[in-house]
């Protein structure tokens, strides 16, 4: 009998605990692997904390709203004119977002800002963030049933390339930008995904 087979037979005869030790070494806790995983998780959670600081800035939050009406301004006051989301997120029949919002920012203050396809999230997946804890926010943006059917890679593409997201860093006269630069935001998003996209509790 070969040596591994003798060990296996002996383990089987000795009962499960011994068999577990010999036959399933990969299931044993590896202290160093555990520490690595813990460190990765902490790095990912930390990255998400910085991501959340952007997601909860007025540039993102004003359209990722609870209810039917967007907000506006750095103080996130109710959008004037009783503007509503509509089913597709692009407004109601005679009050479409693009009735006023153009594809670029106007050159002067107190005018509607602009980016291509100006919109809110659709009514089916409103992506409402106001009042969520960091953990709830994280789980909301990760879950395809609440994030518009996006995978992690398509989420990354959304934050990297969607022009309405990029607008947050070029918001026109009279509006502040999020606390991270767009490149820092994308880098943190990458770090978070590379760490397994962990969520705070």
């Amino acid at each position: 009998m070969s040596r591994p087979r003798r060990i296996a037979t002996a383990a089987a005869l000795a009962g499960f605990p011994l068999a577990y030790l010999f036959l399933a070494p990969s299931l044993k806790a590896d202290p160093s692997a555990g520490e690595t995983a813990k460190a990765g998780n902490e790095k990912g959670v930390s990255a998400f904390g910085e991501i959340a600081s952007v997601l909860t800035s007025p540039r993102c939050l004003n359209c990722h709203v609870v209810g039917e009406s967007p907000l506006q301004g750095d103080d996130s006051h109710a959008h004037t004119m009783n503007v509503k989301r509509g089913t597709d997120g692009r407004g109601t029949p005679a009050m479409r977002c693009t009735n006023c919002h153009q594809s670029t920012n106007p050159a002067f203050a107190h005018t509607p800002p602009g980016a291509p396809d100006w919109r809110l999230p659709a009514a089916r997946t409103p992506m409402a963030w106001l009042g969520l804890s960091p953990g709830e926010l994280c789980r909301t943006i990760k879950d395809p049933s609440t994030n518009g059917g996006r995978s992690l890679s398509s989420l990354l593409e959304h934050v990297r390339s969607d022009r309405i997201v990029n607008w947050g860093w070029d918001p026109g006269v009279g509006r502040t930008t999020p606390p991270l630069s767009h490149q820092q935001f994308v880098d943190k998003f990458n770090q978070w995904i590379d760490s397994g996209a962990p969520c705070p509790p």
Partner: protein, 156 residues
């Protein structure tokens, strides 16, 4: 100079102005269609509303370039004899007071009725809340839109 072609009230027109020029000024100054009014100039009042391919856009902040090759309808294009259902209803309900906001109100209402032929009060409020009337004729506007829906329904 750039040439921009568009169809205004069914007629093909060409504007030789900067494509960044607000559509409002092209309509008023280049084409002489002065029914559309300048109110605030920052898309806050609705006086400059015209229809662009089915949407009630604010022409004061819309660059001409956005309308290139597209169909625009102004208040002058609602009807040839001022007998559009909305115009009849507007007169019947005595909506216009000072009248300044009325061309924008009519164009927003026209877009609403094209999309919702029998609107509810809530539909009307949602559609018309971007058009401000300093004379406060909102109740008349709502009644007139209901009346226009009835008139248009009878014509069918």
């Amino acid at each position: 100079m750039d040439r921009t072609e568009l169809v205004v009230n069914g007629e093909r027109r060409t504007a030789e102005v900067d494509p960044d020029t607000p559509l409002l000024w092209v309509l008023r100054d280049t084409f002489g269609l002065t029914g559309t009014k300048y109110g605030c100039g920052i898309a806050q009042c609705g006086a400059c509303t015209v229809e662009l391919e089915g949407d009630a856009i604010r022409s004061c902040v819309t660059p001409l370039a956005r309308a290139a090759g597209k169909r625009v309808t102004t208040v002058e294009g609602l009807s040839k004899r001022n007998n559009h259902a909305l115009q009849q209803a507007w007169l019947a309900e005595q909506v216009p007071q000072c009248g300044y906001c009325q061309s924008g109100q009519l164009m927003s209402a026209a877009v609403l009725l094209a999309k919702i032929p029998k609107p509810t009060d809530a539909d009307i409020d949602d559609a018309m809340s971007g058009n401000i009337c300093r004379c406060g004729t909102y109740q008349r506007i709502r009644r007139a839109i209901h009346r226009a829906a009835e008139i248009a329904g009878k014509k069918k």
